[in-house]
Symmetry: C2
Subunit: 304 residues, 2 copies
């Protein structure tokens, strides 16, 4: 069991590290909440966070590190400038930036940006997941759900376009900081798949009415307080439905496309239910395995 | 100058009081931030707030008070149960609730609710503005913009339907509690009417893409940091555009309808710019004058 490299997916609020051998098998892993948003302020900064995690594994001092995600943002450790669309994920390693004075070899992969008029967009981390997908042939769509969901178009070897939908971000802001804070109390609102799918269909059919449909959640609580309301479920369904109709507006009919749904756990379940509600096909892939494969592919190009 | 009644528009976060004579002329007025949200906790509660404001005017102890707004909500002073649509604004006074043990005669006007499937909605205060409009004949639409904008359909004497859009509430939540908090800094973002109108048209034409267009505000700041961005202006334009397309979805083509825009000041200006951007006609009325006329009409029915 000889370690080959350290792979790190370093996002805004999460840190995930894998020690892998030359075959890509995972020898050990670490995960924490020391994301980009807090690591800069931690003792020793980004280097301190990384070394403490590696010490805990007893990793060799000369083992190289390949990282992706917000750690490469301007406000991260060292900025890894964006690659522009159309981008070849297999060439991400060409844009890797080596962190100066890191004590060991640390390379940060670039994000991808899109400068199309009316569609300015950026990603950091998802491009490495894309690199780790078995992308197949022809034009394909990938959906990477989250706080800032990414929808990505792949054509041949190229990542030709993408759109971000701030679905999770909107959910937290609306549930916590609008009139709906009086309605959405997750603790007494178990996920109800029928209510969720109805809300997905409503937002997909009538995205224009979103703001009114949000208030209707509150009004239902006032006018029919005894009935099961599922406010959190409905809010989630409206916002995921809005994301799906937005993706269809940007990328064409989803019922004629098989979408790669790159997710795991409860989020994958919820998006699967949304796709089902609309009769769309989604092919699921585990996002964590994808980012690890992408980091490994980049590591092989950079280190060998 | 003989005072006839005290009229109070008592909303969630504002208190406005007018002392009027029998002709409806304003003899004195008071305004404060002692809205429903805080008045209950004030010394002496709602009665304490009201009496201190009246004392400041030297108002007679037996002068009656007619109030509307959130003061009549369940969490207000005394609940004035909703009148259901279709409702006749001229009959609001029939549903007025007299506050017990208020020391003087205090009447609170009811709000209006709508129980239509998929369109549950409530209002408190706006129905009294509607009562104060010179509503004309036939089917008409009124837009009452605000934190929770109301769009109201009037047919003959009746308020037959309405929809709330939480435009201002969404603005504050998105500007303050999503990734856009890094972009929207009102102090360095003067209102730009061209950028605003472009955003209004974008949201009106492509409401499905709202969530993506929000992220594009952030991406533009990252990708073209030197250029004038107008993030606050664009956010406002997208959300008001979403409201207008939502109203069109609920109530039919706005280009064939003259809408009463019941507003004043900067909000009226902004909505006028939005209507202009889409080529819609709006006839403006001052919302404060309207609520005062509505309260006066109710006072005349209740007190004489």
């Amino acid at each position: 069991m000889t370690a080959f490299a350290v792979l790190v997916d370093w996002g805004t609020s999460s840190f995930r590290l894998w020690l892998v051998d030359g075959a890509g098998d995972v020898l050990a892993e670490r995960r924490s909440g020391e994301g980009m948003a807090t690591a800069g302020e931690a003792m020793g900064g980004f280097a301190g966070v990384l070394e403490r995690q590696l010490d805990a594994l007893g990793a060799d001092a000369d083992l190289p590190v390949i990282a992706c995600g917000m750690v490469g943002a301007r406000q991260g450790w060292v900025e890894a400038p964006y690659v522009e669309t159309p981008a070849d994920p297999k060439s991400l390693s060409d844009g890797a930036v080596r962190v100066p004075d890191a004590g060991r070899a640390v390379f940060i992969l670039p994000g991808v940006c899109q400068r199309a008029e009316g569609a300015f967009d950026v990603m950091r981390g998802e491009e490495t997941q894309i690199l780790g997908l078995d992308v197949g042939e022809g034009r394909r769509l990938a959906c990477l759900p989250g706080t800032h969901s990414k929808w990505v178009v792949l054509e041949g070897d190229r990542l030709t376009g993408f759109s971000t939908f701030i679905t999770g971000d909107l959910y937290a802001a609306i549930a916590g900081h609008t009139i709906l804070k009086h309605s959405v109390e997750p603790q007494d609102d178990a996920f109800d798949v029928a209510a969720f799918q109805t809300a997905v269909r409503t937002a997909f059919a009538r995205p224009a009415e979103l703001s009114n449909r949000l208030f209707a959640i509150r009004a239902a609580g006032l006018l029919a307080p005894g009935e099961a309301q599922h406010p959190a479920t409905i809010l989630s369904g409206l916002l995921i439905g809005l994301e799906l109709v937005g993706a269809a507006s940007r990328f064409g009919r989803l019922d004629e496309t098989s979408v790669r749904l790159v997710a795991a756990g409860p989020l994958a379940e919820r998006y699967r239910a949304a796709f089902d509600a609309l009769g769309f096909a989604a092919h699921e892939e585990d996002g964590e395995a994808a980012v690890r494969r992408g980091l490994l592919a980049a590591a092989r190009k950079i280190l060998t």
